[in-house]
Symmetry: C2
Subunit: 111 residues, 2 copies
Amino acid sequence: MEEEAAAELRRLRDSIDNMDAALVHLLAERFKITQQVGDLKARHGLPPADPEREAQQISRLRALAADARLDPEFAEKFLTFVVAEVVRHHEAALRDSAESSIHIGRRGVGQ
Amino acid sequence: MEEEAAAELRRLRDSIDNMDAALVHLLAERFKITQQVGDLKARHGLPPADPEREAQQISRLRALAADARLDPEFAEKFLTFVVAEVVRHHEAALRDSAESSIHIGRRGVGQ
């Protein structure tokens, strides 16, 4: 590959690396918020998944993607991918919450 | 669910929606850049996938994720998910480029 093309590839990859760092930090913040949602749901006995909310999110993100000239199919796959991870976290939070209740319950009956 | 908890859930979901809009727009820009990478690779006959580059990206993103308290496993799965989509685009660009060459070649021999 010519020197010029190699320099161009490096330049483009530097930009990709910057965007990936931004994406990872945004995802970290997003998970901090969904963890709060998970705690709230666990405290109120709400199910981890919410199909109606997910349908609204998918429809909204597909429209945003189309405006930004991103393949709406990819935007939907991306959200499904992230939500699957979030639901996994919520289920773990629910299990932890249930285990705490059992321990409290046992203490409550004198164990 | 009490009114207060419902209001808190709405507030958290509004923040998630804002972050998802930011994520979609960042991903749209990232694909614009990887499209340029794909065009460059296709012009220079480079393979769409680059395992060495991917290994560097994964290692870097895992470290960034750990610093940001995001599960490094998730960061790696996320990158693999995005790169798979990018490689799919690059392969399509290579096919388009090969088809153009064939057409030019045919014109070149008088067809």
